[in-house]
């Protein structure tokens, strides 16, 4: 699997100086610049994200890794302004996509970007699908919403997407409800719903954490192959260094709201510059690097 990635990886690997994360040769498709995210609670303000800067190049997979509470999910949700407001406040920084700052574009314009240019896959496929609506409809509604497709056309496209993400017997599954599907199938449906709008950027927030170990591998394989086929840029949020090793080109390590280290996966893993990264690597059993 990892070899598979390397064979088709078109990213030049910059060696050395991992902390500064030398700019990718291609223009970044998504650029997070000095992002600050606060959660204003009743008694205190939590600074969840403190000055995070990330660049996601066309067609690459950037993994953001860190323990829970490190601000990685808040960062990911900020891209589409999906943190619950209140209590969340975007306190500073920019998120640039196609020349626009996603933190300040009007809601309406953001609505056109969500699901169409930038799509998301969430952690828990059990709860992230609407339990009362057929899964096929939940895939198709993206196209009906963004492209104004007819019911039949959207259905055909959704069936195709379900087939592409490896849902067996899409015709039958289309009509089923989330509770009738296994966890792995549900996550495939989520991915189909994210993919069907042909996004340029896919944000996957811990896409395998809630799944069985055996299924985790399949879903990761799927994400990698889809990324390569469609040339999407993928922002992968995870706490699992094993996942990073298997899927990502570059990695950013987050700790207490800050990015402590960025660089090529191989560089970071072999020559971690930051102390926290080192401890993180040491705590991960038996990392198999390609």
């Amino acid at each position: 699997m990892t070899t598979d990635r390397q064979m088709t990886s078109d990213q030049p690997r910059t060696a050395g100086a991992p902390v500064t994360a030398g700019p990718p040769t291609t223009e970044p498709v998504l650029e997070i610049d000095g992002l600050n995210v606060d959660f204003r609670l009743d008694t205190t303000t939590v600074h969840a994200v403190r000055g995070v800067s990330l660049r996601l190049a066309q067609g690459e997979t950037l993994a953001v890794v860190g323990e829970s509470g490190s601000g990685k999910t808040a960062t990911a949700l900020s891209v589409l302004r999906l943190n619950p407001q209140p209590p969340c406040v975007y306190a500073g920084g920019r998120i640039l996509f196609e020349g626009r700052d996603l933190l300040t574009v009007p809601d309406k314009e953001l609505g056109r970007i969500r699901g169409s240019d930038i799509a998301m896959v969430f952690q828990d496929p059990m709860t992230s699908l609407d339990p009362l609506r057929r899964v096929g409809v939940q895939v198709a509604e993206v196209l009906r919403h963004h492209q104004g497709l007819s019911r039949a056309a959207a259905r055909a496209a959704a069936l195709e997407a379900l087939d592409e993400v490896g849902v067996p017997d899409p015709e039958r599954r289309f009509r089923q409800y989330p509770h009738e599907l296994s966890g792995g199938l549900r996550q495939r449906v989520m991915i189909a719903g994210a993919l069907v709008g042909r996004p340029r950027v896919l944000i996957a927030d811990e896409p395998t954490t809630a799944l069985d170990v055996t299924v985790q591998r399949q879903i990761l394989d799927l994400l990698v192959s889809l990324q390569q086929r469609h040339g999407m840029a993928v922002l992968l949020i995870t706490h699992d260094l094993g996942v990073v090793a298997e899927t990502a080109d570059r990695v950013a390590v987050m700790h207490q709201g800050r990015v402590v280290e960025t660089g090529d996966v191989l560089d970071v893993f072999e020559r971690p510059a930051d102390d926290y990264t080192r401890r993180l690597l040491a705590a991960t059993p038996r990392l198999e690097l390609a």
Binding site: L82, M120, S128, D130, P131, H145, H146, H179, E180
Partner: protein, 330 residues
């Protein structure tokens, strides 16, 4: 008890019915039906003995100076001279054939009297239902989406008022303003649309408050759930998100409580009919009780109990329409 019924326990405001095994579902359905029949039987029995324990109807029906012979004749004609148990069995036997006896005041079959009054009550109930949905749904949605803002507070103040105000006082206020003050609508009467407006609004005040409040709290719960975030990530605006992925999910607890509130609503219907002299079953019930027309009392009480039972069966049925997890339980 929740393991025996399809319905979530009352305290669990947002709980949803659990999917059970197919056998469990069948069992639940049978228990529901059994409970329904039990309720009807209990109601019939209680009302039967109640009217007979409360004193001798014959004494009340005849003038004080009636002779013993007159008393005896009336007693015989009402069947009250026979043993209580045989009266009771006859009564139950009659119920099985929808035969409720003869009304004493109307001197007509009770079934006929009831049937004459039914359309007015149904008309009132339907109108109140429409008013409730038209007002409560938008109010609940707006309050939930604009939680904590002025519009939410305004709506919730209205809800508190609506829940605390007895229907007859609402009706009297409406009459004072719209009939006495503005001469815009009639204070009583039946037949035209204008006649219907004030009673329908009066009856719906309480249910608007209940539905709006529940829809709000249940929608607030739903709006924090993950699948709403998914819908937002797909690019849906807030309104479309609520309408496609929120409303139906939020309606489950609302439907549950509507079933439980049917009793209050029926009581409200009786009072509303009284305020506006509406010629429906509610007025008939009061009349029958005041006149000690005991066959009619038994029938009207049973009618309300049956309404309650039927509405609640419909509520259970609606779970399976609203929630696929009940329908396709595996």
């Amino acid at each position: 008890m929740s393991d025996l019924t399809l319905r979530p326990p009352r305290t669990a405001g947002t709980a949803r019915p659990r999917p059970g095994s197919r056998a469990g579902l069948l069992r639940a359905v049978l228990v529901r039906l059994g409970t329904a029949l039990l309720v009807l039987l209990c109601t019939a029995t209680v009302s039967f003995f109640l009217v007979r324990l409360s004193g001798d109807p014959v004494k009340v029906l005849l003038p004080p100076d009636a002779t013993a012979a007159q008393e005896h004749a009336l007693r015989a004609s009402l069947g009250l001279d026979r043993p209580l148990i045989s009266q009771y069995l006859d009564f139950l036997w009659g119920l099985l054939h929808f035969d409720f006896g003869t009304s004493i005041t109307y001197n007509e079959p009770v079934r006929q009297v009831l049937a004459d009054r039914l359309p007015a009550t149904l008309e009132l109930a339907a109108a109140a239902l429409v008013v409730t949905l038209v007002i409560a749904l938008p109010a609940g949605i707006v309050a939930a989406m604009r939680r904590g803002r002025a519009s939410d507070r305004g709506i919730m103040t209205g809800v508190l008022l609506g829940q605390s105000t007895p229907p007859f006082w609402v009706g009297i206020l409406l009459i004072l303003v719209f009939a006495v003050g503005l001469h815009a609508l009639p204070a009583s009467g039946y037949g035209t649309f204008a006649n219907l407006v004030l009673p329908a609004v009066t009856l719906s005040v309480y249910s608007v408050a209940v539905v709006a409040r529940l829809l709000r709290s249940s929608l607030i719960d739903v709006l924090t759930s993950d699948h709403i975030r998914t819908a937002r990530a797909k690019g849906f605006g807030p309104v479309k998100t609520v309408l496609t992925h929120g409303l139906r999910n939020a309606s489950l607890p609302v439907v549950t409580v509507i079933g439980l509130e049917v009793g209050s609503l029926l009581g409200g219907a009786i009072l509303t009919e009284r305020v506006f002299s509406w010629p429906g079953v509610g007025q008939l019930t009061i009349e029958a009780i005041s006149n000690r027309d005991f066959p009619l009392v038994q029938a009207t009480v049973l009618f309300f109990a049956a309404t309650f039972v039927v509405v609640n069966l419909l509520v259970d049925l609606s779970y399976s329409l609203l929630d696929p997890r009940v329908r396709t339980s595996r």
